[in-house]
Amino acid sequence: MTGSKDGLQIGQDLDFQRKEWRVQRIVWLFVVAILVAAVIGLIGPGPLSSTSAGPAGFRVHYLRFARWQAPQSLVVSVGSQRSGTLQLSFNRSFLDSMAVQQVTPQPAGVKVSATGFLFTFDATSGTVPADITFDLQPNSMGTLHGTISLSASGGRTSSVDISQLVYP
């Protein structure tokens, strides 16, 4: 409809306008859906994102959904029956995609091997149960798979598999 009856020279198009309003409404619904997803934790930290895996005595608390270059914590809860030396190992590909900002408490030693990283903690019987916190920052996007193994001196080795989706 170019040019109204009384000579208003204007490029108005009501069909297009109606489509525009419809698209605007659809996109806003989409935006609201994204915001709701973010609040419940489907995009980065939140209730549905926080989870834990592993048996009692070796629980790994982590985020299912994280964001690229955003700080996050991975907490390993070690049960009380263990004492002596604790060894926590991460598979290589997982920690290669993360910057390890800080480990609390500080490990007594870190070893690098072809397959992974080995963190050693000295534990006396009074210090466990304990939470070991890894402050991490993802360096890459997409799905990351981690395998975390715990072996105490003289004890059995158990391992936990985790996977995390890192948003851009």
């Binding site: 109204s4 009384d6 208003l8 204007i10 490029g11 108005q12 198009d13 297009f16 306008q17 525009e20 309003w21 698209v23 605007q24 996109v27 806003w28 935006v31 270059q69 851009p168």
Partner: protein, 147 residues
């Protein structure tokens, strides 16, 4: 590569979100809109710059944004269909002193906004003195008075 892609991603997102927010969103900047603008720029800046505070990065980001703007302006000039997609079309809101209610409702414009535009631009006192009120592509309201 990183900074160019980041800047482009932010550019496209802002383009889409402000397009679907409607023409009027930033047409008249109230005090609160101004504050909102500052907060948005702050939030945007983090995503575009990241941890890299180098001059190189700033040059790349600014060049990308200006380049995208320039490129888009050319595309809009060359292809009218892209122009209407990105900037929308003008819309008549008042015809012969009669407000077109469904359009006002869709664009969430109050009749008082049209009267304010009529007073400011034409010195008109009443709705029936307006021949046309048009919501322009830019989001402003233009008034054509009756003879």
């Amino acid at each position: 590569m990183d900074s160019v892609l980041r800047a482009l991603a932010v550019y496209v997102f802002l383009l889409v979100i402000f397009r679907v927010a409607g023409k009027r969103t930033m047409a008249q900047i109230t005090v609160f809109d101004f504050i909102l603008l500052l907060i948005i720029s702050e939030a945007t800046q983090q995503a575009m710059i990241g941890q890299d505070f180098s001059i190189t990065n700033a040059v790349l980001v600014i060049s990308t944004l200006i380049g995208a703007e320039r490129g888009l302006t050319w595309v809009q000039w060359r292809f009218k269909s892209v122009d209407r997609l990105l900037d929308g079309l003008p819309l008549v809101l008042v015809e012969d002193g009669k407000p077109l209610e469904d359009r006002l409702k869709q664009e969430r414009i109050d009749i008082s906004e049209i009267l304010a535009a009529a007073r400011q631009t034409q010195g008109l006192a009443r709705l029936d003195q307006i021949k046309y009120a048009v919501l322009e592509q830019t989001g402003g309201i233009s008034i054509v008075p009756k003879d």
